[in-house]
């Protein structure tokens, strides 16, 4: 294929209009190790962006910076044209960024509806903050119906759910806060085909509403090609490839990645010579 031999496309496929999120030359080191070495990334309104790369490429670090868990060393994060900086997860959240983490934020011993409202419980007035369980049950049922998430019972403890159901509830909880940007860190890891289907359909539904822009990290290209509008590849702390899904194929992307690796390897060898 000719595309493999060419350098990176001269103009990256930036979506039209003001992007929801722009990441400009963001760097991050942990001690002497530079994990992010100048990340540039753009996320358009209602877009689903896939992020792939080897372990240690910096994907999770980037997501943790965007969600306020880590702070970048250099570079800017721009939301809807405005420079922002997050000192905490709460700060990122107040700017409309919700994250579903790899380690599943559900509480095994709490029921589905209590998990759904964790951190935003419906309470009655008074210093003791009594839970309005009836209202929470009703809202939870209606809400899960609205976004087509089905669980055996909202009374069931999260421990009793399957991995896919738990992940769906975790995504549902993040979406309930009606975020502008949703970050999904390997939402399909350790999940069977049917389970993955559940989450893929949920994310596609959300994306088609156009209200939320989504960044998905995953290792499975088939899933990403189905879910995403655009895929960015991270290699060695940089984004090396930026391709629209409908303008490329899995084969082409793989070839691009291999040639990019080769180029990096040559650079290293030349620097050493």
């Amino acid at each position: 294929m000719s595309a493999a031999a060419e350098p990176l496309p001269p103009e990256p496929p930036v979506p039209a209009g003001t992007p929801v999120l722009e990441v400009r030359s963001v760097t991050k080191s942990f001690g002497a190790i530079g994990v992010l070495r100048g990340i540039d990334l753009v996320l358009g309104q209602g877009e689903v962006l896939g992020l792939v790369g080897d372990n240690g490429a910096g994907k999770s670090t980037l997501v943790k910076i965007l969600s306020g868990f880590h702070q970048q060393d250099g570079g800017d994060i721009v939301l809807g044209g405005e420079r922002v900086s997050f000192h905490s997860v709460a700060a990122a959240r107040s700017h409309g960024i919700e994250t579903v983490y790899q380690d599943l934020a559900l509480i095994p011993q709490l029921s589905v509806y209590q998990n759904l409202f964790l951190g935003h419980e419906v309470t009655r007035l008074g210093p003791l903050r009594f839970l309005d369980k009836g209202a929470m049950r009703k809202l939870a049922r209606q809400y899960l119906d609205d976004i087509h998430v089905y669980v055996p019972s909202i009374e069931a403890e999260a421990e009793q759910l399957s991995g896919g159901q738990r992940q769906a509830i975790a995504v549902a909880r993040a979406v309930r806060a009606s975020p502008k940007i949703l970050l999904l860190d390997e939402p399909l890891s350790a999940m069977g085909a049917r389970e993955s289907r559940l989450i893929i359909n949920l994310v596609k539904d959300l994306a088609s509403s156009g209200r939320v822009s989504i960044i998905v990290i995953d290792h499975n290209y088939a899933h990403l090609f189905e879910l995403c509008d655009r895929i960015n590849v991270m290699q060695g702390g940089r984004i090396t490839i930026d391709q629209r899904v409908h303008e490329t194929s899995m084969e082409e992307l793989t070839e691009l990645m291999v040639s990019s690796y080769r180029r990096q390897l040559e650079e290293v060898q030349n620097a050493g010579a």
Partner: protein, 357 residues
């Protein structure tokens, strides 16, 4: 029944899963009697110790008859159960948080000493009580802050504060008994309420049990405790202030132990500096376990801990009455604790396995 139960029953099995019921939940209408009873015991953990306590109670009633059921004997059972219960019900909060407080037994003993000293120094009794309670709240806060800020395991933090409080009592009391305790043995309402009436202490413990139980199961703070203990990282990510929750749990646990400690001192009228809090805390943790609280975090029942304390009290009183030596009592307590814990672990496994599709 809520309206959803009716609709879920109407949904045929094969249709896309709507809001179905949890298979062993007592809310599920399509259960055989056997499974319904199993589900009841699974989800109402307090039921098992209640049944055991009633069984033990009936056994002693048959063996010892009116000697056991007379008011003197029952109040002595309540006398054993009171301090254990007071310490156990607060401890549940910490066990649910996957923490432990080994110092509450000593807090229970230390708080009346504080009251006694300050009253002897001329402070009005109400003020002395108030300050003593504030001090034990601060003990709880220090336990919590050292645990969450310095990352010292709470087992170690509270082991240390336990020794410090014990030492303070020995030093300050000069190893002399504290007596007389204000209010003790008087007939006025306040005195009766604060412990002179033989049932006062256990009723205080019962009232606090109800309060803490409602707090754990029906308030936002309770949900935060369960969330923090069930999945620390997950709770933090969901915006639960995990450190603050832990510190407050330590404070509450100390506060209620100190409060009942004062009632206990009024009841007995003297303070013995040689009493060691660890003796109490081990029974209390035993009571929590008997009641259905695991030490793994995320699960626990306050009412269960209260019943566990009652069971220990009934055992101690009943065995003495039927002429079993006090030494044997420890063997029985040990067996009950192991049995209760094994049962709990099996119940947890059953719940985890009872998932639907």
């Amino acid at each position: 029944m809520p309206p959803d139960a009716a609709t879920s029953a109407a949904v045929p099995e094969a249709s896309p899963p709507g809001q179905q019921q949890d298979p062993l939940s007592p809310r599920n209408p399509n259960l055989s009697t056997g499974r319904r009873i199993l589900g009841l015991f699974l989800y109402q953990r307090e039921l098992t110790p209640v049944v055991i306590t009633i069984g033990v109670f009936l056994y002693f009633t048959i063996r010892a008859g009116s000697n056991f059921t007379d008011s003197l004997s029952l109040s002595s059972a309540a006398g054993y159960a009171g301090p254990i219960g007071a310490i156990a019900i607060g401890e549940v909060l910490l066990l649910v948080l996957a923490e432990i407080d080994l110092s509450v037994g000593q807090v229970f003993l230390f708080c009346p000493w504080m009251m006694y000293w300050m009253h002897n120094d001329g402070l009005p009794l109400a003020v002395a009580i108030l300050i003593a309670l504030l001090v034990v709240c601060m003990v709880g806060a220090v336990n919590g802050l050292i645990t969450v800020r310095l990352n010292v395991p709470s087992f170690v933090t509270t082991l240390a504060t336990n020794f410090i409080l014990y030492g303070l009592v020995l030093v300050e009391s000069n190893d002399q008994q504290g007596s007389p305790i204000p209010l003790s043995g008087q007939t006025g309402f306040i005195s009766q309420l604060m412990g002179s009436w033989k049932w006062a202490e256990i009723l205080w413990v019962l009232a606090i049990t109800i309060f803490l139980s409602v707090m754990l199961t029906r308030t936002r703070f309770g949900t935060r405790i369960i969330a923090t203990g069930g999945n620390l990282v997950g709770a933090a990510e969901a915006g639960v202030p995990i450190r603050r929750v832990k510190v407050w749990a330590f404070v509450l646990c100390s506060f209620f132990a100190g409060l009942v400690g004062i009632v206990d001192s009024v009841k007995y009228g003297t303070l013995d500096p040689g009493n060691f809090g660890v003796d109490y805390i081990l029974y209390a943790v035993g009571a929590c376990v008997i009641g259905g609280t695991a030490l793994t975090g995320g699960r626990g029942t306050i009412v269960g801990a209260f019943i566990g304390a009652i069971l220990i009290g009934v055992l101690e009183d009943g065995l003495t009455l039927i002429g079993v030596s006090t030494n044997d009592f420890f063997i029985y307590v040990g067996v009950v604790i192991i049995f209760a814990m094994a049962l709990n672990v099996q119940f947890d496994r059953l719940i985890a396995r009872s998932r639907v599709r």
